[in-house]
């Protein structure tokens, strides 16, 4: 029954109809009419219906051949080697791919976005002088406790956190080692992050530290179940209550943190005074003015008269460093470009009667398009390279970004100029068939160098081997009509030019 249905005439017509979808639109109707007429005869001649079906499946090969050999098809024109569309499309694909990779890599994504904290311009990270780029906590708890009162004229809020590895009991008989930050309860307040709701109703219960989980931990160990809020878990013997989950990408301070344990002041004070951690501060409007300066020094005098120096690094300025590197390396590459390649694009005689004005400017539009695509390509690629595995404040990552961005811009701009010089000014296709012309020994009698030709027949490009006072740069020569017999009409038509 099914076999009869498969090999029936209506199904054969359906097969032909589906195959017709592969045929270029302008030829489809005629193609389908021919195959249907043939099917009419095949149906009457063949004894086995399977032969009819086999005949119909052959239509796919025919349709695909037509599609593959359709000289008018847009993809064919776009992807022809040397075509400006192919070049532009390749660059656009590269830019989009770089951007997508950037969005997939958490480090690169953070480097692109501004800090998610309100009043980020007023937030500073305090560290011992000279250690601001180190990935280790440098401030002792006793120092933080002393500053709470002594720096009231500078800061409106001070928060302390200490990253450490702890074993958390995430379920019955299940433990996981995580990076836990033990923090003062005002840390999220200073950052202006929403305080977890469940933390508020602890006033009526016996004291228990609050635990905030990262999205990753919440999904991995707690299966993203919102019902876990309020549950009690054990962290290395200490009972803590799950208070909430941190939104993704909200944490952009030093340290890869999986969970935050918030202690009240009383319990923080009970910790050893030598406990080292990070100190975050919210600057007063009349304080350190981090908007203007990325890094300020803070000096604290002890009772003994000795002075301790600290660095106050603006979080916003730190977060803007990747963009600053991008702009700075772009500027540097523009300065260095003339040292690597000549900037002139050659001599192109004006053919006012031959080229419409829009065509004359088209090569400049093409160059501008290439340059404007190179900028995002280098930006995203350097971010991908630098922050794929390293944190945003890592000097190594910043170095990688700086170097890759500078050399990326330099060589990409160099390529854009060189590519532009090797293109026909009319059809913008890459010139082909390089030929050596002349002899080096006769340089003063006749020119010697390389000659390239436009495959469509628009002209010749002469590039001198040794620039002289009478032939200093490459020169373009339009071909007159006597050359037209060398270039077939079909090729001209296929090139999509007049």
């Amino acid at each position: 029954m099914i076999r009869h249905l498969v090999h029936s005439l209506p199904i054969s017509h359906v097969i032909l109809r589906v195959a017709a979808l592969f045929v270029p639109h302008r030829e489809r109707e005629e193609w389908l009419a021919e195959w249907r007429a043939e099917l009419w005869h095949v149906w009457r001649s063949c004894n086995h219906q399977a032969e009819v079906t086999a005949f119909c499946f052959g239509a796919f090969q025919d349709a695909l051949w037509l599609r593959g050999n359709n000289k008018h098809s847009v993809p064919r024109r776009l992807f022809r080697p040397g075509s400006p569309w192919r070049c532009g499309l390749s660059l656009a694909i590269w830019a989009v791919a770089g951007m997508l990779i950037c969005f997939c890599l958490p480090g690169a994504r953070r480097a692109m976005h501004p800090l998610p904290y309100r009043d980020a311009g007023d937030l500073v990270m305090i560290s011992r002088a000279g250690y601001s780029s180190e990935h280790a906590p440098t401030i002792r708890l006793e120092e933080y406790q002393a500053w709470k009162t002594s720096t009231r004229d500078l800061f409106t809020g001070l928060a302390f956190y200490q990253p450490m590895r702890k074993r958390i009991h995430v379920g019955r008989y299940q433990t996981a080692d995580m990076s836990v930050a033990r923090a003062t309860s005002n840390l999220f307040e200073v950052l202006h992050l929403p305080i977890p709701v469940t933390a508020r109703d602890q006033m009526n219960r016996p004291y228990m530290a609050s635990l905030v989980l990262s999205q990753k931990v919440w999904k991995k160990y707690f299966h993203g179940d919102a019902g876990n809020a309020g549950h009690i878990v054990d962290i290395a013997g200490q009972k803590v209550r799950i208070a909430g989950v941190m939104a993704e990408d909200s944490w952009q301070l030093p340290g890869q943190i999986d969970a935050w344990v918030f202690e009240d002041e009383q319990h923080m004070d009970a910790l050893p005074s030598s406990t080292r951690g990070y100190v975050l501060a919210h600057v007063k409007a009349s304080g350190l003015s981090p908007h203007a300066v990325a890094r300020r020094s803070m000096t604290v005098f002890r009772d003994t008269g000795e002075a301790d120096r600290y660095d106050c690094v603006s979080l916003e300025q730190q977060a803007q460093l990747p963009f600053f590197f991008f702009v700075f390396t772009l500027f540097l590459a523009c300065l260095a470009l003339p040292a690597t390649t000549p900037l002139p694009l050659g001599e192109y005689p004006v053919h006012g009667d031959r080229l419409p004005s829009i065509m004359r400017f088209r090569r400049w539009f093409f160059l501008a398009a290439k340059v404007s695509l190179i900028v995002p390509i280098v930006y995203f690629s350097s971010l991908d390279l630098a922050y794929a595995s390293l944190p945003i404040d890592s000097p190594a990552a910043q170095g990688i970004q700086f170097v890759s961005s500078f050399f990326g811009f330099l060589f990409a701009f160099r390529w854009a100029l060189q590519d532009q010089r090797r293109r026909c000014p009319e059809c913008l296709r890459l010139l082909t068939n390089p030929a050596r012309v002349g002899q080096a020994s006769r340089n003063f009698l006749a020119w010697n160098g390389t000659e390239l030709i436009c495959a469509v027949g628009h002209g010749l490009l002469h590039i001198p081997e040794i620039p002289t006072s009478w032939f200093g740069t490459q020169r373009w020569f339009y071909l007159d009509s006597s050359w037209s017999s060398l270039f077939s009409d079909t090729y001209l038509a296929s090139a999509g030019t007049s």
Binding site: E38, W40, A54, F55
Partner: protein, 105 residues
């Protein structure tokens, strides 16, 4: 000679079949034993190279025989000369698919 298109044995068979009077795609298939997926693309290629030309038959013929309108193929002058050159390359081709004149003999 240098401008003569280089044809595969399959294309040569199809060209010879059309020359022998099999002017429809299906009749070429029957004559050569080749599947539709080979015959039709090959005929498109031969047409593109100017060796054969396709035309729709007259509506009156199709109406008289109560069947759909068919497209038929015939050799061009270039196809004729290409076929003559092909006989030298594939001497048994004419025996495999006899030309109309040979049939008469």
């Amino acid at each position: 000679m240098a401008n003569e298109p280089k044809l595969s044995h399959t294309a040569a068979m199809i060209l010879q079949a059309i020359h022998a009077g099999q002017v429809y795609g299906f009749s070429v298939m029957e004559m050569t034993g080749l599947p539709s997926g080979t015959v039709y693309p090959a005929m498109r290629r031969l047409e593109r190279d100017g060796l054969i030309v396709s035309k729709w038959e007259q509506q009156s013929i199709a109406d008289a025989e109560q069947r759909p309108l068919r497209k038929y193929y015939k050799l061009t002058r270039m196809g004729q000369s290409a076929l003559e050159a092909i006989y030298k390359r594939y001497p048994l081709l004419e025996k495999l698919i006899p030309s109309p004149e040979v049939k008469r003999v």
